[in-house]
């Protein structure tokens, strides 16, 4: 016996976002034959791992984890990456831009050039090596203008290219992951999350993060409105003053193109309070590579970037 009842319950916004992300991950598992989850040790992909646990436990993940390492990552993040993969008992694949440089498939214009955009080459090489048909990534539509129209299942041709004019219509939650050999799908389970949602989820789930997300003292110089960390790879330029500033990172990536923001927030709750009041968008403040031109992200995506 069953009678229709009017639901008195509605999911909270975080529960809804989580349920959608779980649904997307299970669709990847159900539709794709050889997927991989891109895990960088950054906060967005840390959320992806929790969603994968919620989607597939008590089973194993139906995909390995993979990191494309530029060789210029903060050591705290790399240590965290390895620890998290080990705790989960899941397989972690690491492929490095430095290997692509040795093979000659990545050629830097000059030794100091950011390796960030060259990750695309290494990623495509790894996709070919393992014959992955789908890469699950932590990109969000609110990160950048070029991503506002990104599909949840985004189609890449056999050159790994994203063509904004040749994306499949995506209706309801009926995703189409069918591809020909050599083509690729990028699946983005947290497309509909904002930076604030990510932090609220981290707080609710009590997710552990690499230490550089929290306020710490670091030598920096002020350059073009951004704080640039002083490291071996990014020394101060003549005439610049090195300051010890309390900072935290809002995104983590290649050392040469990731800048911190001034902050004293050393708990997730304080970061949420700051995020809710912040006046600078996430990428605007912290990604030196996006400032080159307003359309620079679109350009890089066309070349195969995540």
């Amino acid at each position: 016996m069953s009678t229709l009842t009017l639901s008195r319950h509605t999911l909270s916004h975080l529960d809804w976002l989580e349920a959608e992300a779980i649904h997307i991950m299970r669709e990847v598992a159900g539709q794709c034959s050889n997927p991989v989850l891109l895990f960088s040790g950054g906060k967005d992909s840390i959320c992806l791992l929790r969603i994968a646990e919620k989607a597939f436990r008590p089973g194993k993940f139906p995909f390995p984890l993979m990191h494309i390492d530029t060789g210029h990552n903060y050591p705290e993040v790399i240590a965290f990456r390895d620890k998290r993969a080990a705790e989960l008992g899941e397989r972690l694949i690491v492929r490095s831009v430095e290997d692509s440089m040795k093979r000659g498939t990545v050629v830097l214009k000059h030794p100091g050039e950011s390796r960030n955009k060259h990750q695309s080459v290494t990623l495509l090489e790894a996709i070919a090596e393992f014959e992955f048909d789908t890469c699950i990534g932590g990109a969000r539509r609110d990160e950048e203008k070029a991503r506002a129209k990104e599909r949840i299942f985004s189609f890449r041709d056999e050159f790994g290219q994203w063509d904004p004019k040749n994306q499949r219509p995506e209706l309801w939650s009926l995703y189409n992951a069918r591809i020909h050999k050599g083509e690729n799908i990028r699946a983005f389970p947290i497309s509909n999350w904002t930076e604030l949602d990510v932090w609220q989820y981290i707080a609710r789930e009590k997710l552990e993060l690499p230490s550089i997300y929290f306020a710490h003292k670091r030598p920096v110089v002020r350059r073009g409105g951004a704080l640039v960390p002083v490291t071996e790879l990014t020394p101060a330029r003549p005439g610049e003053t090195i300051e010890e500033v309390s900072v935290r990172f809002r995104t983590v990536g290649d050392i040469t193109c990731t800048a911190p923001v001034e902050s004293n927030a050393d708990t997730v709750e304080e970061i949420i309070a700051e995020t809710a009041q912040t006046t600078i968008t996430e990428r605007g403040a912290t990604r030196l590579d996006d400032q080159t031109s307003e359309a620079s992200m679109e350009q890089r995506k066309k070349e195969g970037y995540f």
Binding site: T5, L11, P58, I179, E298
Partner: protein, 423 residues
């Protein structure tokens, strides 16, 4: 982007809505206004659009620039695709699907409408109800958006005239009645000035209804308005076969509608076998109940062979199992629907080959009349009959969007070429 100053007890869930109108209706300005007045725009974004506004010789900041997306479309000066925007008021999180208004982009509006529970249709107060207003309303109705808000914009250009507003309202209601649109609200606004969007402003004292944002804040959540039948398409089967979980068989999926509780009797389709729910799990936690839109794992009392594509329902309210369907189809592909070809139909987590048995008519979405048709080209909407190789478990789209919807995939290109709504 991020929320306003006082944070985040968002307790009213999430609302997905759609804005439709052309560039001339001030749609981008309206979205910009919602983001701007709800303090969802951050400083560097604002600086960027201030710079651009100055470059273009404008005196005031052009809020429409906020929603200008891709380089390709900026060059063409048109919106070529659906864009998604986010804002939050502290009470509710919003996802805006921003669909372009041009006639040739019917498919974009159908796409944007498919996930929305409310549509804002913009009408230029100087022009009144136009062909495109009727087109937008028809599509919103067809795609099952439960709530329509007719925002009569540019009230500043008609002297905030109540007469103009009432005249347009009467005209719209006449035509909405013919379409069968039931839930429709009207609001006079000026997106440019900001009247009745987030703030009431000083110019529309004669209007006593809620502001646009108040309408959004209080719109009912999806699935909360009428009783629903339980539908659980199985996405994935979990069988860890480890020492600890030797006999574990979990059926993973999302409750597409209705609710399910531990102990409830369920039926599995297509086998028709009946059993009971032993446990509902989410990440090691047992839940007494799962509600619509929740992703969970179901454990059943009996060992039944269940795989992806099966559907778990309640026995007294099972959906129809059909090998022939009639549906309204919006054609999305560049190559027209070909009556001689086989297509793939994807419905819930199920996929089957399909043949087109016939096209009953094509809808002229400008005149809203049915015309005979031998084919459907891109952006056409028509009534189509399909014969299926495998049965699907369906409800009429009007009753259940999740089990009434399907997409058509072209096997040669793997492209999504059609969107169907079962009658």
């Amino acid at each position: 982007m991020s929320a306003p100053e006082n944070l985040p007890e968002i307790d009213n869930g999430l609302l997905r809505f759609l804005t439709c109108g052309s560039v001339d209706d001030g749609k981008s300005t309206l979205i910009g206004r919602l983001l701007y007045d709800s303090k969802s725009i951050l400083a560097d974004t604002l600086h960027a659009i201030e710079r651009t506004s100055r470059k273009r010789g404008l005196e005031a900041v052009d809020l429409s620039l906020l929603t200008d997306g891709l380089q390709a479309e900026r060059e063409q000066g048109i919106t070529i695709d659906v864009a998604y925007r986010y804002f939050s008021t502290g009470r509710r999180k919003y996802i805006i699907a921003d669909a372009p208004g041009h006639e040739q982009y019917t498919r974009n509006m159908v796409t944007a409408a498919s996930t929305a529970s409310l549509a804002i249709i913009l009408v230029d107060a100087r022009k009144g109800v136009l062909t495109q207003t009727r087109r937008h309303s028809y599509i919103a109705h067809l795609v099952g958006i439960p709530h329509l808000v007719i925002a009569i914009n540019k009230m500043d250009l008609v002297g905030y005239s109540r007469e103009v507003f009432e005249r347009i309202k009467t005209e719209y209601l006449y035509f909405a009645g013919k379409l069968g649109i039931a839930d429709v609200r009207f609001i006079p606004i000026s997106a440019l000035v900001g009247d009745m969007v987030v703030e009431r402003g000083d110019n529309l004292d004669w209007y006593e209804g809620p502001t646009l944002l108040e309408i959004l804040e209080n719109a009912p959540a999806a699935h909360s308005e009428k009783p629903e039948k339980f539908r659980f398409p199985v996405q994935y089967v979990c069988r860890p076969q480890t020492a600890e979980y030797r006999d574990f068989r979990g059926y993973m999926g999302r409750v597409e509608s209705g609710e399910i509780a531990v102990g409830d009797e369920v039926q599995v389709l297509p086998s028709g076998l009946i059993t009971r729910v032993k446990d509902i799990q989410l990440y090691g936690r047992s839940l007494p109940l799962a509600i619509s839109e929740q992703s969970v794992t179901l454990l059943l009392e009996d060992d039944i062979d269940i795989s992806r594509g099966d559907m778990i329902v309640k026995p007294a309210e099972a959906p129809a199992s059909v090998k022939q369907i009639e549906a309204m189809v919006c054609w999305l592909g560049e190559t027209p629907l070909d009556l001689n070809r086989k297509y793939l139909v994807r419905h819930t987590t199920r996929e089957t080959k399909a043949l087109v048995a016939g096209i009953a008519y094509r809808m002229d979405i400008n005149e809203l009349i049915q015309t005979p048709a031998a084919r459907l080209a891109m952006n056409d909407i028509g009534k189509v009959a399909l014969r299926l190789a495998q049965p699907l478990f369906v409800d009429p789209y009007g009753e259940n969007r999740a089990t009434g919807a399907f997409i058509i995939v072209d096997e040669a290109t793997n492209n999504t070429v059609g969107a169907g709504m079962i009658l």
